[in-house]
Symmetry: C2
Subunit: 210 residues, 2 copies
């Protein structure tokens, strides 16, 4: 097996173990053991666990940058929102160790603070653009204060919903498809600000996904 | 100093260090050092760090139980909500290490899963009772689906808002009083479902706190 393959396999297995147990609970020795390679071989590719974390975070950040694209002047429909949120949560789900204990991760890996802060800013501005586009097309009725508050709610729900659904007994009992529920929760924040018939349409669309 | 005093001081100092650095990053040796007592003395009172965590969690849980009281048939006013949320966030803030990395904490301390799950259920049912009371008094206009969704949003915001405000650059720049902002965020979830004049009243009340 080539060095390049080994390197990628280390990253893949680390991601899997981090997602399953939480990054803080996984050691490089456990990663090597899972891969059936020596700790020295792993060390040859990544000096410290923090190097693995940094690489995974960069891969995540690149994927997110491809999703968080400002819709600009384009007039949006509800279905655009749905697709956008689907891609977003799908990516967050694949790298869920990052969001699982994000506050602790940023405490321990100072180098991630700036890029994660920029990612959140990007999420704020993209959410604001989506809202502004839906206000322009008349679907959403929002003044400036409501819009800022709504954007805060959206970014927080994107950041924490998957975590919440893992620990909340009501969600665990009820929600079959966590991804669909996450999208529903975000859309539902905007529903009370929609005009008819989009409001009823959004509710029905949301319900069909649950 | 009596044993009882030492025991309480260990709990107080642990809470302070856990809140500041995250529970996972604090060792019993660091707690002993901060208190200027020997590790053996600490060990005499608490065999493992998990015993300290359990005691702090129980204290938190008892305080929360005193706050999460079902309003029953009482007709509520907006100010009741405000006071309730103030007490809730104030307590969460004092024990913020629990919420800071709640998913990881529940992964590592299996014994906390059940009581924390019950606490979330209690929060769901209390939030549902508050909503139902405001629906009965005509302040909130909600059907059953909207109410369930709103309750989910409320419980998630209570669980994660303080954490979110610590890592989100927009919140860090803007929010002077994190407690007031947290209350505003929860109330703002219900505002679009309010009838007038309560809706305008709630907005003004909310703004006066920011």
């Amino acid at each position: 097996m080539s060095g390049r393959d080994t390197r990628q396999r280390i990253l893949d297995t680390s991601l899997e173990l981090f997602n399953r147990h939480g990054e803080v609970n996984v050691t490089t020795n456990q990663i090597a053991e899972e891969l059936d390679i020596s700790p020295g071989n792993l060390h040859y590719h990544f000096k410290r666990k923090s190097d693995i974390v940094r690489h995974l975070f960069e891969a995540f950040n690149t994927e997110m940058a491809d999703i968080l694209i400002d819709p600009g002047e384009r007039l949006l429909e509800l279905e655009d929102l749905w697709l956008y949120l689907h891609l977003l949560f799908e990516t967050i789900g694949r790298y869920r160790f990052i969001y699982r204990d994000i506050n602790d991760l940023l405490e321990r890996y100072e180098a991630l603070r700036r890029p994660f802060g920029r990612l959140l800013q990007r999420q704020h501005s993209t959410a604001a653009s989506y809202c502004a586009s839906l206000v322009r097309s008349g679907v959403l009725l929002l003044d400036e204060l409501d819009q800022r508050t709504l954007v805060d709610h959206i970014v927080m729900t994107i950041t924490y919903w998957i975590q919440f659904s893992e620990i909340d007994p009501a969600c665990r009992e009820r929600d079959g498809d966590i991804l669909a529920r996450a999208i529903y929760q975000v859309i539902s924040l905007a529903i009370p600000y929609m005009r008819e018939p989009e409001r009823s349409h959004a509710r029905n669309l949301a319900l069909s996904y649950l």
